[in-house]
């Protein structure tokens, strides 16, 4: 009996040790500095609100703690789309003025891996800036550090809330430098192939309703005129 208890105790400690190592893994942190910031190229910085009620529309399966917005909108309940969500946002420029509309399609990625600290989301942006043109962004995002640093502490907190400043680049690919792919469609972006990164800043999160204060920044690198000519 003693041996059974000690082996069971060892089993429980082993499982707990796995989760402790996973949670405190220092190699899972993502840099907060954009790889595009050191490229020396011209950048477009577009900002949007990551709070569902501050978007034009937020659509998901309706099963999440983050409720669809407005509440009259259809839900993505069908099996093929139930692990997906769509945000329709007003994108603002560096001066805070409206610059365009963005549709962000996100879906949980099958390449997610607990062992590699990867909570991956495959996301694409369909962006239209009326005075400049449209473009498409393909990116893979990793939300591991967001879950570890914001979502879990909010659940552990007795008031179900988290407050602080969490600031990370969520884009990790598909490009080698951890940037997303941009394909220009019209206007000044027509035919352009370039890179983008997305940065999230969270200041308050509720374990009951989701993000309370969150902004996202989509940064697009513009090729220099010399590169365009080449």
């Amino acid at each position: 009996m003693r041996y059974l208890i000690s082996s069971l105790l060892g089993l429980v400690v082993g499982v707990a040790l796995f989760f402790v190592v996973l949670y405190y893994n220092p190699f899972a942190a993502r840099p907060a500095v954009s790889p595009l910031a050191v490229s020396g190229q011209r950048l477009i910085d577009l900002t949007y609100s990551g709070v569902a009620t501050e978007t034009i529309a937020f659509i998901n399966s309706g099963e999440s703690i983050i409720k669809p917005h407005p509440d009259t909108i259809s839900e993505l309940w069908e099996p093929a789309v139930e692990l997906s969500w769509v945000s329709v946002v007003t994108l603002t420029n560096a001066l805070g003025a409206p610059a365009g509309i963005g549709f962000k399609f996100s879906s949980e990625s099958e390449r997610s891996s607990i062992l590699q600290s990867k909570a991956l989301v495959d996301s694409v942006w369909h962006v239209w800036l009326p005075e400049r043109g449209g473009f498409f962004v393909d990116q893979t995002e990793n939300y591991w550090s967001y879950i570890r640093d914001v979502v879990i502490p909010a659940r552990w907190n007795s008031s179900d809330r988290w407050r602080g400043t969490w600031n990370r680049i969520t884009t990790i690919g598909p490009n080698a430098l951890g940037t997303g792919r941009v394909s220009g469609a019209s206007g000044e972006f027509a035919g352009m192939r370039t890179e983008a990164v997305e940065l999230l800043t969270t200041r308050a999160y509720s374990a009951v309703n989701g993000p309370v204060s969150m902004t996202g920044n989509l940064t697009i690198s513009l090729p220099s005129p010399d590169e365009d000519a080449r």
Binding site: S7, V13, G14, L76, A80, I101
Partner: protein, 191 residues
């Protein structure tokens, strides 16, 4: 007793690692891809949107013009004339396989293409540009401009066709937008 504790610990740690390695974290639902092959054309796939049943959102500049009720579309003058829509996307069997957005600037001209994003979560995304000029009644032609995952290396044409007075699976829908993709993979050099 210490030895059995260590054995249990190793089993617990190793078992959890093995579970985390072998159990998929995410398992996207897949519908069979209904693709037909046409000689000298490539693979053809037909998607459609039932209207108005599959319309999730329609953003149009002006008071009370957007759908659904309660949606606040930006009032800035720069958005006037444009139309942005979001739909559920169905395959040939009328099963929802994805979500699609369509943006039309309303200005016309080949330099202002109609943009479609067809997002199929289990397969990838197609970004399509269509010439705004109709080539027939309710028909527009265009091309796959960019793709992700399964569609990343494909290229080809896309046709948009609007049909009125059609019978659909849901009673309220009477119209349909067909999207026909004809895609080919990259050319592989012969050995």
């Amino acid at each position: 007793m210490f030895k059995t504790f260590i054995l249990g610990l190793i089993l617990g740690l190793g078992g959890t690692v093995a579970l985390a390695y072998y159990l998929p974290v995410v398992n996207q639902h897949r519908e069979a891809s209904l693709i037909t092959f046409e000689a000298n054309v490539g693979t053809t796939e037909v998607f459609h949107v039932n209207l108005p049943g599959d319309r999730i959102l329609a953003g149009i500049h002006g008071p009370d013009r957007s759908y659904p009720a309660g949606l606040h579309w930006p009032e800035d003058q720069m958005f006037s004339g444009a139309q942005a829509e979001l739909f559920k996307l169905r395959d040939r069997n009328d099963v929802v396989v994805g979500v699609a957005s369509r943006i039309s600037s309303g200005r016309g001209g080949a330099e202002e293409p109609i943009q479609w994003t067809l997002n199929l979560p289990a397969r990838g995304t197609m970004f399509v540009l269509l010439n705004p000029a109709e080539t027939g009644a309710g028909t527009r032609n265009g091309a796959l401009h960019a793709g992700t995952r399964d569609f990343a290396k494909l290229s080809g044409s896309v046709l948009e066709q609007f049909s009125d007075n059609v019978s659909t699976s849901d009673a309220e829908s009477t119209a349909r937008i067909h999207l026909v993709t004809r895609l080919v993979g990259p050319q592989v050099p012969e050995e």
